[in-house]
Symmetry: none
DNA sequence: CATGAATGAGCATTCATTCAT
DNA sequence: AATGAATGAATGCTCATTCAT
């Protein structure tokens, strides 16, 4: 998978030509976003100071404002930037699969793999994001809606192809499944941060969630003769 | 159901001497908690000012500090207070049911009914709660763990009684189910606040979620002859 | 004259009853205004820091914001407060005089006496006031217009009573006279601040200005016998 | 009159690029000063950003610092530059006149004509100039003193030649007259910026001011037999 | 000379919390 | 217990100025 490397794809920006300054990987905008993910994840959006992000990125405080309108905008930009990469990655990964069931299972795996790979990003994307009032109340949707839309598409397709039951509203299903994945991720991430032992492996969790959603809880009373 | 009235169980306390103001049921602490739920839900924990809570509760700003150590403590106390009531209510409701399946379905219904009845409380409990650093990082667990424990108990019981499949880890299941309910609730609450049309009825959502978790997504290929 | 004492008339505000705290003369709002006049005059509105005003007033920085919306509002409030007092004082002083000429001469004297008495106030009123964009562009008028209106009234009256020439537009005259007085004041104040020797006594300046405006520059060539 | 064209006297200098871009007359320094006058007049010295001046001048922000030490220096340089031109123009215009009275009247006319011709310059010269602390407190004088000196010279000359009354101190007179002209100008300029209707024509104002200063306010009670 | 990205000192303002009454 | 004026630490953001290219 290439989620992260995709996310890191630098929007090409004038790189110093003569002296490459090899210490600075990626352009400044990218470095600030990376720093913001780290700091927001560690301290929480509201407790993070812009100056901390700057220090983490190795730039001066004012430099942040050359790239982002304000602290809120930094969070939103970070979100869009990363979600875009994640979406592209997911789409590419899912394109090669044949059945709706395979694609849905893969979606779950991809999400949890992403969380395992970049827990801080996961934390910011799911927890901290809810704290920027502007974001939550005026913006929210877009890319996140796209993400859920992807999920909904998989479900609808499954129903249309007769793979999935038709008596479950896809709009509710997509939220239920997303909520399930998200909560399982969040707890794992929280335990990790609290330096508690891993409560479960995320790969196993993916398997479990899929099993649950695919087959349901109720034990089939097979062949009651 | 009596969640709310239970929550409002007044720790008896006296009215400001002269005129008992019989209209105002509940003591000052309760009034402050009610105000906090309203203000936190409307403005978000970080954007809510203590003085707003005080104004909403009809007390002076300083009075809050006679009942709560600080703003964080107000949020946590609010949480404990309400969760206690909710838990008691849930336990009472579930006690009369026979099968694990019935109890689990009822749990889903109860949660969503609670959301429908007091959306602001639901919002605070699920969204704003994540924003108090002290809470999230040092406290969190307790009552919330109890709530999830209740859920886990239902599942374990179901497995033990042979009602549920044994190949799904209850610790993951409880999170998955809670996440599903929570997300479905959250979206509904969000739409409500944004004054968007209700995306779905919460009663229907409960039915759908249960159907999903009970039977799974995959359409049984019965008897392909 | 009582300009200053009038200006200091405290808008009655709850004074601590039991322990009079004799060190604090005047209420807090008044103390802040006095401090602001001093600091704005000495450092200029833009270079003055709110914390300096607070320190000068002997209050904490935040206290200023219990009385004034922001720095601009402090300047504007200061202006209104003092202008009101000055206007009341001027009106009272002029009421007792019979001819328009006497009143106009007295007006000049009063203005310059006010400058002599409270140079810092004069400086703020004439120089610093122009620096608050909101003030200059949206507010300005009112009390200042009243002041000029007082002047215009005197002139119009003089014309109507046949004391003054009718061929000079009162609206231009009032500006010309005000500008003359203001500039003469300003230079005197500036010299004072720069610790230069007084270029002239303000009482003499009043006499000179009146002589100039009353009789004009041109030496009457009548009756060269 | 040639005030403005004199001020604009281009110090010929070439345009950056390869092709001289013959359309842009005036060198960069001049263009920056013109931009500064416009921006300072419109936004006020303190609210004007150096980058705005740069944008208006069509140069990069840093370029300004190749021509001026800092923002204050830009204001001061602007002032000196324009005042020099104005003074030269005034001197030339006054040279041809015979009587002190004619010269003084002409001075008033010239000042107001200058205001009418370049209101933004007038605004900067009279309002914004007072806002640069360094200017006001350490520099001020020089060219402005020269301007007032010119005025004083006219008065002294008038007295010496017996045209003007000898009982008015020229140092006060020069300030009074300048203040009168300045205030009349300022109000006109202010109305213009506020897009209010012109309160009076500046030509008429010149006539009025001169009439006032020449003959005085008091109506001569000639020959009441 | 020109550029404009980077810098970082500077400051108004907010608001949780205290405490004298 | 209740009050609410006073406090002052905390911080996002601006913008004049610098300097490597």
């Amino acid at each position: 998978m290439t989620v992260h490397s995709a996310a890191a794809t630098p929007r090409p920006r004038r790189r110093p030509i003569s002296q490459p300054a090899p210490s600075e990987r990626g352009d400044k905008r990218e470095r600030i976003i990376e720093a913001a993910i780290k700091v927001f994840a560690e301290r929480g959006f509201y407790h993070a100071r812009v100056s901390e992000v700057a220090a983490e990125a190795g730039v001066a405080g004012g430099t942040i404002y050359n790239y982002f309108r304000n602290k809120d905008d930094l969070l939103i930009s970070l979100f869009e930037d990363r979600m875009e990469a994640i979406l592209a990655d997911f789409r590419a990964e899912l394109a090669g699969l044949d059945s709706a069931a395979d694609r849905l299972r893969r979606f779950v795996e991809l999400h949890l793999a992403m969380v395992a790979r970049d827990p801080q990003l996961a934390e910011v994307l799911t927890v901290e994001l809810r704290q920027s009032s502007k974001f939550m109340r005026e913006y929210k949707a877009r890319k996140f809606g796209e993400y859920l839309g992807l999920l909904e598409g998989l479900v609808v397709e499954g129903v249309e192809r007769g793979e999935f039951r038709a008596d479950i509203d896809p709009r509710i299903l997509k939220r239920a499944l997303f909520g399930a994945i998200d909560e399982v991720s969040l707890f794992w991430v929280g335990a990790r941060r609290a330096r508690n032992p891993q409560p479960y492996a995320l790969e196993d969790a993916a398997e479990q969630i899929w099993r649950l959603y695919a087959g349901g809880l109720i034990r089939p009373q097979e062949s009651t003769p």
